[in-house]
């Protein structure tokens, strides 16, 4: 659907503002109570096994450090290709998520595997750079072969009410994700919910990103003090669910940062299932942005198979 | 024969048991002037650290539900009951009280924790109000903790006076920096161990042993302290004048009895602020 059609008028800052502020409010206490209630679901035996494998398949295995090196990226890719050396049945993560300059090394290391390479772009994590720089950052990553682009929105512009600027930037980056030949890179839009702070802001930013063409809406960079939480993810899943009902478009959700345990991951899957519905229970529509999560899931997976608790030394560090 | 393992008495700041930053200690003697222990002699820098710890802990403690605070205070009573013999021994040694008198003092200290535990979730039901203002407004007044309290426990009470100094401060969500009785400091320092095992968050109570005359001007003058309880001070008037510099709430010495098995609601309210909220009504 065209943005104008959804908003019901020409896209201006004023019309965007009217549209976003007409969304129903979010009651914090009620939202958090709902998330807490879903977190008490008890996932056992066969559903646990299914959930753990799905959690791995949905993972964007991430390294986003200033000290990243090609070698480090290669070893992470190796881990993604064979997460569990003892178990060839163990699935691989959906993608490796790296800085743009690491994309060639990741592409090379992943070879013919079906694992995608996602690159963070647009002056990640702060987003504080000129549009020119952000576009070039994106184009470089796309040219290097990135399958997915994780961009950050301009939180300063959003918080100062300049919705049009945020909208235009997302649209422009979406353009930069196109390739002359071949599939465009998928665009994940990072809202940095920890900086937007209120749930009303997060709902509005979700809609704004979807309106501007996001393929995924993503919670966080992982670089601020509050990253993904269950209530925030629940709220964003409501947004994609309602957006689908309104426009027919299917948008994905990616919580990132702070999801470290298999137990956490299963809770997110419960929320996906019960809020957005089973349709979203696929790596095409739900991802975890995580670095240490994989090993905990692997340990739980092994525990389920062997009925013995493992120590961290029994899975490889990456 | 077997040699006793003796305890080192240290300060209690931010949930930890440090020695004084100054490295100093002083001798605590029993009622017959015999040596009992060398106790940390707190300095102004310990006051500074303690106030910082109290400030850091305050929003979390005030933000805990009243029900939770009540459970924690009741847990303190439970833990204190479990150490009854230790407190009796300390009281007998320092004060020369009989075993029975000391036992009664410990009982009072436990019971006053229970009494305070019951107040956490009742203060507003008793002292708050719905105000029938003459207009289409919803109007309520609630009581909120004032913040960080600097307190001086009575000099002449080893245990119950100390408990009746800290409990009324923390019951509502304040945090406290308390200077113990100089001569009878051991049971107060042992209370730190009780608190550390009672689910009380670190920094809610910070205990300094030492000379009130040395520490009082620093604690009372500290600009990040909201209220002071001058019970155990020797120059209260001077201190009250100093407290006025930042309009601190002041509890003067001998305002409230501190030896009983219950406290006083007014004492609790002295360390709270009334907040009134208005909202229009209409559709």
């Amino acid at each position: 659907m065209q943005a104008e059609e959804v908003v019901g008028s020409r896209i201006t800052n004023q019309s965007l503002r009217r549209w976003l502020h007409s969304l129903p409010g979010v009651d914090k206490v009620g939202l958090e109570a709902r998330a807490a209630s879903l977190a008490t679901r008890s996932i056992k035996t066969t559903s646990k096994a299914w959930g753990l494998d799905m959690a791995i398949k949905m993972m964007d295995l991430t390294t986003l450090e200033g000290m990243d090196t090609p070698e480090r990226v290669r070893s992470l890719c190796q881990k993604a290709i064979t997460p569990d050396l003892d178990d060839p049945e163990c699935p691989s993560p959906a993608a490796i998520c790296v800085y743009g300059d690491m994309v060639p090394f990741a592409k090379e290391a992943l070879g013919k595997s079906k694992i995608y390479v996602a690159a963070v772009a647009t002056a990640f994590p702060s987003g504080r750079a000129s549009m020119k720089v952000k576009l070039q950052d994106t184009k470089d990553a796309v040219a290097n072969g990135a399958d997915e682009i994780d961009m950050v929105i301009d939180r300063g512009a959003f918080l100062s009410g300049n919705y049009l600027e945020v909208f235009k930037q997302i649209q422009a980056i979406k353009q930069a994700c196109q390739r002359p030949k071949g599939k465009p890179a998928h665009l994940k839009v990072i809202l940095e919910t920890g900086e937007l702070q209120t749930y009303d802001n997060i709902r509005r930013a979700s809609y704004l990103a979807m309106l501007a063409g996001a393929d995924f809406i993503k919670t966080s960079t992982g670089k601020v003090s509050v990253n993904a939480t269950l209530p925030i993810t629940l709220l964003m899943l409501e947004a994609v669910r309602d957006w689908h009902e309104e426009t027919g478009e299917v948008i994905g959700v990616k919580p990132a940062g702070g999801i470290r345990t298999a137990k956490d991951a299963l809770r997110y899957l419960v929320v996906v299932k019960e809020v957005a519905g089973e349709r979203w229970l696929t790596p095409d529509l739900f991802r975890f942005g995580a670095s240490s999560l994989l090993n905990d899931v692997l340990m739980q997976r092994k525990k389920l198979l062997t009925k013995t608790y493992l120590g961290p030394d029994y899975v490889s560090v990456d | 024969m077997r040699l006793d393992v003796k305890k080192t008495y240290k300060l209690f700041i931010a949930g930890k048991f440090p020695r004084s930053e100054s490295g100093r200690s002083y001798q605590v003697k029993d009622s017959k002037s015999g040596h009992v222990a060398n106790v940390a002699l707190a300095s102004r820098k310990d006051v500074r650290d303690a106030v910082q710890a109290a400030r850091a802990a305050q929003p979390g403690w005030a933000g805990a539900s009243a029900y939770n605070r009540g459970q924690v205070l009741y847990r303190i009573a439970e833990m204190l009951e479990g150490r009854r013999e230790q407190f009796i021994a300390e009281i007998v040694s320092l004060t020369g009280k009989t075993q029975r008198q000391a036992d009664a003092e410990v009982s009072a200290a436990i019971d006053t924790w229970v009494w305070h535990a019951g107040w956490t979730d009742k203060i507003d039901s008793v002292a708050g109000s719905m105000n029938p203002v003459a207009g289409p407004y919803f109007n309520i007044s609630t009581n909120q903790p004032t913040g960080v309290v600097g307190a001086f426990a009575p000099q002449d009470s080893a245990l119950v006076g100390f408990v009746n100094t800290i409990a009324p401060a923390i019951v509502s969500g304040n945090t406290v920096v308390v200077v113990t009785s100089e001569k009878l400091s051991l049971p107060a320092l042992t209370i730190g161990e009780v608190l550390a095992t009672s689910d009380l968050p670190a920094g809610v109570v910070n205990i300094l042993s030492g000379k009130e005359s040395e520490l009082s001007s620093w604690l009372v003058g500290h600009m990040d302290v909201n209220a002071v309880d001058l019970e155990g001070t020797s120059n209260a008037t001077e201190l009250e004048i100093s407290a006025a510099n930042t309009v601190k709430r002041v509890i003067r010495p001998n305002t409230y009895p501190r030896t009983g098995s219950k406290g006083n609601l007014q004492h609790i309210l002295d360390l709270m602020e009334v907040k009134t909220v208005w909202h229009p009504k209409g559709h």
Partner: protein
């Protein structure tokens, strides 16, 4: 796909083959037995004694003796410490109590574990703290206990209702004789054991099990000073007549037909949750359930669509499964009543919708239901169903919402969903109900008084006001 595998709670509670009454600190010899069952399976859990007038008399005598010889002579502080002890033992045995409640009542373990038992415990903690502070209750200095309290509680929240009754009564200095519902006596009998573990003086708490005749004998006993009843309005009226002319003080917490009013400026997703929680919590066996959805006409279709989608995710089934949202109806009688009323509502023009649910073979079950297109005159808009059935009524303006919400003989609770504070507060003033929830529903807290206007009863439970139901001014 991601269907949750069974996640059954361990059967942490075990019961005796048969139970007597708990009188004077001891269990009497079981007599005149009837079976109590698990409504989810119809399995018999234990044999229960059907109390006679003689049993009631013994219990009242025991309570009177305990009151005069022991309890009234204890200081408030010491009474309080007994209540703290009881609260602590209940916490220690919390999961066992939750399992017992689920087995006997049919409600999901999720609810007994996370709501019924913690709430029951909180009531004891809260009133424990009151026992030595009665001078602050609002009746002036040195208020007095009433004496022996006769308490009759229902089957919908057996242990929680027990705590709402016993905790304030004991804190205020009364002794009690309590009769649990005939269908759900087991947690009350476990509670009797807890009183023993707490070394509560004999006779301070007495529990007599049985049916309506047992309750009538208790309420009508000459030597009780206070009657506290939670249950149907029908029985409440009988009790009010029975005690007329006596000096007995009475508290009645009766039926309800609460309106849950949703405006177009509500936080919609949370409102959907609140409406679901309001009526499907505890299978709708809640006197304050939000059984009438008053929805602003402009958002009716959108809201009902969201509501149905949400109801499709409710999981009905084994109450012992940790993922069950909707458990069993408590009894065959109750199920028959629900079915009858819904049938009548549909015949009067209501449109019934229920999500697809697999109904277990044994036990008593009713899938969550909406009856839409309900006129204010429809039976399901007027009568308390006490089941998982939501009647949907529309309104156009706040004034109309108030009129429709108040158009009932009941007045226990109401819900208001809007993000506009001034509208909410004005409506709260205008609604004739004892508890108003806004942007939430079914919240309970020991510090917060609960009780109804009109035929929903009188007197309050919870808070400082709840204490007044068990005290009189000192001389």
């Amino acid at each position: 796909m991601f269907d949750y595998a069974p996640a059954p709670e361990a059967k942490l509670a075990s019961f005796e083959k048969s139970y007597g009454h708990f009188i004077g600190g001891k269990f009497t010899k079981p007599a005149n037995l009837y079976p109590t069952i698990n409504p989810a399976t119809e399995d018999v859990l234990a044999q229960i004694s059907h109390g006679s007038a003689k049993d009631v008399d013994l219990a009242v005598k025991s309570a009177r003796a305990a009151y005069e010889k022991v309890w009234s002579k204890l200081s408030g502080a010491e009474r309080g410490k007994y209540l703290f002890r009881i609260a602590r033992i209940m916490q220690e045995r919390a999961r066992e109590l939750a399992v017992a409640e689920t087995l006997n009542n049919g409600k999901p373990i999720k609810e007994t574990r996370d709501f019924d038992v913690p709430t029951a415990v909180s009531w004891f903690f809260y009133y424990a703290g009151w026992a030595d502070k009665l001078d602050h209750a609002g009746l002036g200095p040195n208020p007095q206990a009433l004496g022996v309290a006769a308490q009759v509680v229902p089957w919908n929240f057996p242990l929680m209702m027990l705590s709402w009754k016993i905790a304030p009564a004991l804190a205020a200095g009364n002794t009690v004789v309590l009769k649990p519902s005939e269908t759900t006596p087991l947690t009350a009998l476990l509670f009797a054991e807890i009183c023993q573990q707490a070394e509560l003086p004999d006779g301070v708490v007495n529990i007599v099990t049985g049916f309506g005749d047992t309750g009538a004998a208790l309420v009508g006993h000459k030597d009780v000073n206070k009657v506290a009843f939670t249950g149907s309005t029908e029985v409440g009226k009988i009790i009010a007549k029975q005690v007329a002319g006596s000096e007995k003080k009475v508290t009645l917490e009766l039926g309800g037909k609460a309106a849950n009013i949703v405006f177009d400026d509500a936080p919609i997703d949370q409102a959907v949750e609140g409406v679901v929680n309001g009526i499907f919590f505890n299978q709708g066996h809640v006197c304050c359930a939000g059984s009438r959805l008053l929805i602003q006409e402009s958002i009716h279709d959108e809201f009902i669509k969201k509501l149905k989608r949400r109801m499709n995710t409710l999981r009905l089934g084994d109450p012992m499964d940790k993922n069950t949202d909707v458990g069993a109806i408590n009894s065959a009688d109750q199920l028959a009543k629900i079915k009858k009323l819904v049938k009548k509502g549909v015949s009067e023009g209501g449109q019934l919708w229920q999500p697809e649910c697999k109904i277990p073979r044994n036990g008593f079950w009713f899938a969550p239901a909406i009856v839409d297109n309900v006129s204010p005159a429809n039976t399901v808009a007027r009568e308390e169903i006490f089941g998982p059935v939501l009647s949907v009524i529309t309104f156009r303006t706040p004034a109309e919402a108030v009129t429709k919400a108040n158009n009932t003989e009941y007045g226990l609770s109401a819900g208001i969903w809007t993000e506009k504070g001034s509208k909410m507060l004005k409506l709260a003033d205008q609604l004739n109900a004892g508890v108003i929830w806004s942007n939430t529903f079914n919240q309970f807290d020991p510090t917060s008084p609960f009780g109804g206007f009109k035929e929903s009863g009188y007197g309050r439970e919870g808070g400082r006001q709840g204490l007044l139901s068990y005290l009189k001014a000192g001389k």
